[in-house]
């Protein structure tokens, strides 16, 4: 065969690359997020899926619009807007009005992500920052629906205001709401059977946000992400581990440390946050040590806010605070230079020489 030299491509080494790219990673995250979303539909009805779809559409739409207006090449094909959309909807209660999701999507995509330069440049997790923004209307985002009412209980479309809902549907309080006052949810909810109450908390048969209710399913999603090497174990393990240890050592209201710990870990958005929010690439450190420190920081702040803060929930603010110091962690926790014992630029031999 005659070889045409002009048809030979020149490239710098390495000449081969992994199959994995940004899009495939985001697709894996989307697949993992479908696990808890399916549980949410089971517990809260189709409205959970509807809100998520609206959120995803709004996020992708705003990103496309932003690129169009700012005359940049469209970035929606990297799928990160879909992830943000899912994360945003799934961190809200199923009772929120549809327009809040759209406002949140605008804030997440335009303000937090695109104005900072797009994917990889934002310093806060867009979905979480938008959730914090929506908490400016506490009345809208704090109507909790009892799970497992059957799909007819909540309207899929349209308004789900407090007045529009029948009182039977509204949960008086989330498990964390009771725990804030030092009561175990089983006792507070008048549930004498500790085991069945515990099972509800673990499986997700409790009031809460769309994505956060089912601990076991989120753990399954986390295992999927670990197998696909999308996340490393450092952040979720350090985060959940820290919360577990602190709540075990300091249970409120004189409760049994073990029970208190299990409820604390499985309630609220802790596992959802630790697996999906705290592991956000852009807003978390890159080294194993940095990631552990980051996870521990999230855990300490979460317990602190839950115990002493104004909110029942600590996860959101804990992660947002740690987002802010993530790049600082990357700067102080550098890997040891190869062939040296310390983080200094000195070689091993030079260290020994200076000691002698």
């Amino acid at each position: 065969m005659q070889i045409d030299n002009r048809r030979l491509l020149m490239s710098f080494s390495p000449h081969i690359k992994t199959d994995e790219d940004t899009r495939s990673i985001m697709t894996d995250v989307i697949i993992a997020l479908l696990f808890p979303l399916i549980m949410a539909v089971y517990f809260f009805g189709w409205r959970a899926a509807f809100l998520t779809a609206v959120s995803v559409a709004a996020c992708v739409g705003f990103e496309r619009l932003y690129c169009f207006v700012s005359k940049k090449e469209s970035t929606i094909s990297d799928m990160s807007a879909v992830v943000t959309g899912m994360l945003l909807a799934m961190s809200l209660p199923v009772s929120v009005p549809v327009w809040t999701v759209v406002v949140g999507a605008f804030f997440a995509i335009v303000v937090v992500k695109m104005l900072y330069g797009g994917l990889g440049k934002n310093f806060l997790n867009p979905a979480l920052a938008a959730r914090a923004f929506l908490f400016s209307w506490p009345a809208l985002v704090s109507v909790w629906i009892k799970p497992n009412l059957g799909s007819s209980a909540i309207r899929i479309f349209g308004s789900v205001s407090r007045s529009a809902l029948s009182p039977d549907v509204i949960a008086s309080v989330t498990p964390l709401g009771k725990m804030k006052q030092g009561f175990l949810p089983s006792v507070a909810m008048g549930d004498a059977d500790v085991i069945s109450s515990l099972r509800d908390v673990v499986v997700g048969n409790v009031a809460g946000c769309i994505g956060e209710v089912s601990a076991v399913v989120i753990i399954a999603a986390a295992i999927y992400l670990l197998i696909r090497r999308v996340i490393t174990v450092h952040i979720p393990a350090a985060y959940i581990g820290t919360v577990a240890i602190l709540t075990f050592l300091f249970p409120l209201g004189g409760n049994s440390p073990l029970l208190w710990m299990v409820y604390s870990v499985c309630s609220g958005g802790l596992i959802f946050g630790a697996v999906f929010m705290a592991t956000d690439y852009t807003t978390s450190p890159v080294t194993p040590k940095g990631r552990i420190l980051y996870g521990v920081g999230c855990g300490v702040l979460t317990v602190f806010i839950r115990y002493f803060g104004a909110y029942n929930e600590g996860v959101m603010f804990a992660i947002l605070i740690m987002n802010c110091i993530s790049c600082f962690l990357d700067r102080i926790v550098r890997p040891r230079r190869f062939g040296t014992q310390k983080k200094s630029r000195k070689a091993v031999g030079e260290d020994e020489a200076s000691e002698n």
Binding site: K17, T18, D19, D21, P335, R336, A347, V348
Partner: protein, 444 residues
Amino acid sequence: MPTNFKGGIYIDVRKSATHKKPIEEMKPPREVIIPILMHKGVPCGPIVDVGEHVKLGQKIAESTAADSAPIHSSVSGTVTAIEPRLHINGEKILSIVIENDFEDETAEAQVSFDRFQSLGADELAILVRDAGIVGLGGSAVPLSQKLLDAAGKVDTLIINGAECEPYITSDNRIMVEYSEELYDGAMIVAKALGIKKSVVAVQSDKAHAIAELRRVLSKKTGVSLCVVHTKYPQGAQRQIITAVTGRELPPEKTPSDIGVITINASTAVAVSRAVREGNPLTTRVVTVSGSAVANPKNLLVRIGTPISELFDACGGFLEHPDRIVAGGPMMGFSQYSLDTPVIKSTNALLAFCRNEDKSSNETTCIHCGKCVGVCPMNLMPLYIYREYKAGKISECEKLNVTDCTECGCCSYICPARISLVSAFRAVKVRLEEKTGEEEENADR
């Protein structure tokens, strides 16, 4: 014994096309093109003239510099030109073109070899230098320089048979087919340097070579076998030392500073040949593979053979190749012409169809940290790249960019397809220029 190192990538080895194919001696070419630079160090100067008749194994270029290795003719015939020709590294380099007369009239060995039983480090260094032996695994460091550097300082000899780059099987076949010579070469070096502990390190994917070496080494003493983890870049000097000895080679040090000398498996065989038979380095084994090659092979070729003839010997191309690479896919050089010749360090020639090349457009860094996880040198590639993009070259230096061995793990794993290694190569060139300028200013 530790057999692993930190970082690196698990990568499909893609060696099945050639790893069982015996080394096949290729018909000598009509013409060889021998560049005066085939090693790491100072180029040689030609010592023959155009029109002169040369013999096979005759020295045709040499240098007095310590970091150099003389060059021998790989055929007998007539020198037809001494002119710059395209080199595998992409530059035009002065080359000696010899027309083959197919007589293979052999030059007489110049060094007497009957003293090999008692060869000291200095004598062996002279001998391997005279034979033109350089690191055949791709480093191309003159072996004499390595031996002199190691003399009196090392306690461990590592024969590097990791061959971690995908596709390449030339060392694998050498270990399978020339295990006796490999042992002999290792013992010659070990005796000359007074080394007690010699280890052949083979990556665990090479079952055949491991079995063969185990069979040979079990009957002998002095050399042991160490099976190392299959992970890229296991065969890189720093990583193989860590995997075998647990020692880490500090920046700006040579292996002898931590008591180790590493020699590639093919180089050990070349040492045995040079000592026992007086053969200078005029041939080498090249793996020809890749999706575009009709019949992938391991070929024993004369150094200086144009690469087009190697592809012809493998049945040509199945379809027009998209890319030709000399060396491995992780660290090799892409070629824009098939006229370049095989040099001493060419362990593979690869031709890829488009489907093997998954590189796509560069997107933005998503800060995933995968590059940090895979870097065997404990660097933070994404932050070096960020400083590079911001034009802060001195910040890159603070992030130890000079430690980068250009193994390519970060570029391989990057989901945003950022050409990190190319950026670091550019940074290192800029840093060298900067130190050069500073030295110049200091001189004034």
